[in-house]
């Protein structure tokens, strides 16, 4: 399968982006460099192409009930123009995907899913339809999307629209916003741990929005940002990545995301029984943060040992650009997840000391 180009492909090449195949899409890992792009988002403003993300709409009389049945979070409590983060689980409690659910109306939901899972998700959702009176559409190919992120994101975006952006509060949306002549849906969401907006429009419109935002943000020092810093930013902000902190074999409870799994919500949901059992019996393994004591950078997949016994593996690891420390997330046997516990990370077959710390790396 040849990787696909987002509508912004030519822009990335023009800006000197280092383009790679990511989840079947050609996207830039970085332009100028991962660290300066990371710092731009933490301290000023950065712009991401996120057109690869999947979008699936669920409409119809039973849309609310159906979405609630698919998701671990309580969708019945969501109001119009509100967004929630949730998991979609299989009956065994494994995660099909983690996603954002946008409630446009009680009979109109908009799901934003991981690019690598979009086709799988669409198939999964369709298979669960049963007697629900809903219409499911995969609109991924028709949506262009950018994310403007950072403390100055609102200031830059406000230059291009007459809609007062203060009216779009955290995790809410506005379906119709004119961004310098292009009609967009805006949501105050992102994947960086900073304030910011995600801007949804057409494949044609997104090119103008991208160019206009880079122009409008010159004074604020806006930088186009690649996938590299997207990952370091989300990791520092304790935001999980599918396939790392949770997956089809790592439940959201093991990942430490019980807050988004409403075991006591009014209606049944797929995976409830298995997750309930897991919770009441006690988790055998859990996600923990750790910091290297010895020299070395932990990387995804590295084995973790305690007294020579394998107790788990690294799910994400970096030298954190913000903290300048070597830190990681690890899925390890529950008895070793106490804060302060010392463990060995196996770096190139050598044990290197690390200690368990809070996963909230940025707020320590």
């Amino acid at each position: 399968m040849e990787a696909r180009k987002t509508p912004l492909y030519d822009e990335h090449v023009k800006l000197g982006g280092k383009v790679v195949d990511y989840a079947g899409w050609y996207l830039p890992v970085q332009y100028e460099g991962l660290v300066p792009e990371h710092e731009a988002v933490r301290n000023a403003v950065g712009l991401f192409d996120v057109s690869h993300m999947g979008e699936i709409t669920i409409k119809g009389k039973d849309a609310l009930a159906f979405v609630d049945y698919l998701m671990t979070n309580d969708i019945s409590k969501v109001v119009d123009n509100q967004i929630v983060y949730t998991f979609m689980c299989a009956p065994d409690g494994g995660v099909v995907d983690d996603l954002l659910v946008y409630r446009l109306a009680h009979d109109d939901f908009y799901l934003v899913v991981n690019a690598s899972n979009a086709d799988k998700d669409y198939k999964w959702i369709t298979e669960q339809k049963g007697d629900f009176d809903v219409e499911i559409t995969n609109i991924s190919d028709t949506v262009g999307e950018v994310a403007i992120q950072g403390p100055l994101a609102q200031k830059v975006l406000q230059k291009l629209t007459n809609t007062d952006l203060n009216t779009i509060t955290f995790f809410t949306l506005n379906r119709k916003v004119d961004v310098n002549g292009v009609e967009c849906m805006l949501s105050r969401t992102g994947y960086t741990g900073e304030d910011g907006f995600e801007v949804y429009t057409t494949n044609e419109g997104v090119v103008k929005v991208w160019q206009d935002l880079l122009e409008a943000g010159k004074e604020e020092g806006i930088k186009p940002c690649g996938l590299g810093c997207r990952d370091t930013l989300r990791f520092e902000a304790s935001l999980p990545l599918y396939g790392h902190e949770m997956s089809d074999v790592i439940s959201p409870l093991e990942g430490g995301f019980k807050y988004f799994v409403k075991l006591d919500k009014a209606s049944d949901f797929i995976g409830k029984e298995a997750l309930n059992k897991q919770w009441t019996e006690g988790l055998k393994r859990k996600l923990a943060g750790f910091e290297m004591i010895g020299r070395g950078i932990p990387r995804e997949g590295y084995e973790i040992q305690k007294d020579g016994k394998v107790i788990g593996h690294v799910t994400t690891g970096y030298m954190s650009p913000t903290l300048k420390k070597n830190i990681g997330n690890a899925l390890i046997a529950t008895e070793y997840t106490e804060l302060g516990t010392e463990v060995d990370i196996m770096i190139r077959n050598k044990p290197v000391k690390a200690k368990i710390i809070s996963k909230k790396f940025l707020t320590k």
């Binding site: 970085q30 660290v35 990371h38 990952d231 370091t232 070395g296 950078i297 030298m319 190139r348």
Partner: protein
């Protein structure tokens, strides 16, 4: 990509400068450019004896790790300690900031390496 004259190169983008029986070894500009911001360098110990094409170092950028291989066999006689405290030196000047010096055990291995002219041609094909 900068290619420095008077050095010999491997197709893994390491460079060698010969000083009598000692080989000074580092990474080429192409390697540092492709790794991005280097944040960690692991070096061998003095007196380690390492065979040609074996990894003698691991260099990591924020995003990735890469092993650096011996262009020639030999015994490590010096390591560049500065790189441990300031790995970014490899980005700023990879030819000035050598990694290790080894006492060669088989100087004939040098004949296998590329001249700077060969290496330039090789890079042109890589790009």
């Amino acid at each position: 990509m900068k290619v420095q004259k008077g050095l010999q190169y491997t197709n893994d983008h390491e460079w060698v400068k010969v000083e009598g029986d000692v080989a000074v070894i580092g990474v080429a500009d192409y390697a540092q450019h492709h790794l991005g911001d280097i944040v960690y360098v692991e070096l061998p110990e003095i007196d380690d004896e390492i065979e040609r094409e074996e990894a003698f170092s691991a260099v990591e950028s924020v995003k990735a790790a890469a092993d650096i291989y011996m262009p020639v066999s030999g015994k490590v006689v010096a390591i560049n300690e500065e790189l441990i405290d300031d790995p970014a030196l490899l980005n700023s000047d990879p030819y000035e900031n050598w990694m290790i010096k080894v006492e060669m055990t088989n100087k004939a291995e040098l004949d296998e390496l590329m001249t700077s002219e060969d290496y330039e041609k090789f890079l042109a094909e890589e790009e």
